[in-house]
């Protein structure tokens, strides 16, 4: 981690390389088919973004399905949406935003070589991810209790307007809303579980000193993944919880 540990460059190395790639020369993480650490990092970043594009399209398909079905079955979707707990959704949004901050601070800590701080931020990120999943678990529990889980036991009672007047809701259409709700939040939760495993592994490796200021690409790329999962929730929250409150 310190310059004092660097071994003098071999005599065969040209002076320009010594000037620009002093650390990379001794960087055990630099693979031989890359010219330098920067090129290796750019390649890894490009690959990660390509993966994130497939993730955007994967969730995009579900967002598109949700928007189209919401247009077609507007009343039932509004009634279903009003059954969701806006507070739990808002708390989870806040939890994810704070976790995104700890992730970006972890990348910063890795860049300046603060091992303990890096490990700390990674552990806090995992804990925040688990907090999100616990809150989500309580929400799912409520859905099971209310029989709002699609399937043979699904039961959706008609909604009432502000004056207590009953408004009929097509139960099958409401079931469609909850199918999409569970598909979208479920896939998002699966990404959160994978993210927690990922960051837990990174925390152990960071504690063991695997990451140095000249090599912390896994921290950066896992961070990109975590931020994308955060962004997906940033859109899920208004679409599922917020936009149909007054419909």
């Amino acid at each position: 981690m310190h310059d004092s540990r660097a071994i003098p460059a071999p005599a065969s190395t040209t002076t320009t390389q010594v000037a620009t790639a002093d650390h990379e020369e001794h960087n055990p993480a630099l693979l031989h088919h890359f010219a330098d650490a920067q090129q290796q990092k750019n390649a890894a970043s490009l690959g990660m973004w390509l993966f994130l594009v497939t993730e955007i399209m994967f969730f995009g398909g579900m967002f598109c399905a949700y928007l189209i079905y919401r247009l077609q079955h507007f009343n039932a979707f509004a009634a279903g949406s009003q059954q969701l707990n806006i507070w739990m959704g808002a708390i989870n949004t806040a939890v994810l935003i704070v976790s995104s901050v700890t992730v970006v601070l972890a990348v910063k800590a890795a860049e300046v070589g603060k091992r303990k701080l890096l490990t700390g931020y990674l552990v806090v990120t995992v804990l925040l991810g688990m907090t999100f999943l616990v809150v989500k678990g309580f929400e799912y529990k409520e859905k099971f209790e209310k029989h709002h889980v699609p399937g043979p036991t699904f039961n959706f009672t008609d909604k009432f307007d502000d004056n207590g007047k009953q408004i009929p809701v097509n139960s099958k259409e409401a079931e469609l809303f909850f199918s999409l709700y569970f598909a979208m939040t479920g896939m998002h939760a699966l990404h959160m579980i994978i993210g927690c495993g990922l960051f837990g592994t990174l925390a152990v490796l960071a504690w063991k000193g695997h990451y140095t200021p000249s090599y912390f690409t896994p921290i950066e790329n896992a961070g990109l993944y975590w931020h994308l999962v955060d962004i997906i929730w940033i859109y899920l929250f208004p679409l599922l919880y917020l936009i149909s409150r007054h419909s």
Binding site: M1, H2, D3, H23, Q38, N42, S45, L46, W49, L50, L52, V53, I56, M57, G60, G61, F63, C64, L67, I68, L71, Q72, I86, G89, A90, T93, A94, I97, V98, S100, V101, V103, V104, L105, V107, K108, E111, V112, G113, K114, R115, K116, P213, S214, G223, L224, H227, L228, D230, I231, I234, Y235, F237, P238, L239, Y241, L242, I243, R245, H246
Partner: protein
């Protein structure tokens, strides 16, 4: 902290910001979250979804630009991939909705 900053590495072309800056962006994101949740309780008619999605887009943009360091991406190719992702998503959503939204126009 036993480890101290390795100043030699600050030079490389990475564009991270200060810790305080990241926390400030986080606070802005939290304020926007409270705002969007509060606005949901106010009946704005057809404007409710517009406001909610506008705030969500501002939040997503803040995360992409400042947390995911798109602005400081050194590779132009990476930037092209990032833009293409949102471009393809825009095609998916606009062409699908252009169909479904206009079916009643007879």
């Amino acid at each position: 902290m036993a480890e101290h900053e390795d100043t030699n590495h600050v030079e490389h072309e990475h564009t991270t910001h200060s810790q305080l800056f990241y926390i400030a962006i986080g606070v802005v994101l939290l304020i926007l979250t409270v705002t969007t949740a509060a606005v949901a309780f106010v009946n704005l008619g057809p404007l409710n979804p517009v406001v909610a999605l506008l705030i969500a887009t501002i939040k997503a943009a803040l995360v992409v630009i400042f947390f995911m360091h798109v602005k400081g991406a050194s590779e132009k190719l990476t930037s092209a991939v990032v833009v293409s992702g949102f471009f393809f998503l825009a095609i998916l959503l606009t062409l699908s909705l252009a169909d479904y939204l206009t079916r009643s126009w007879r």
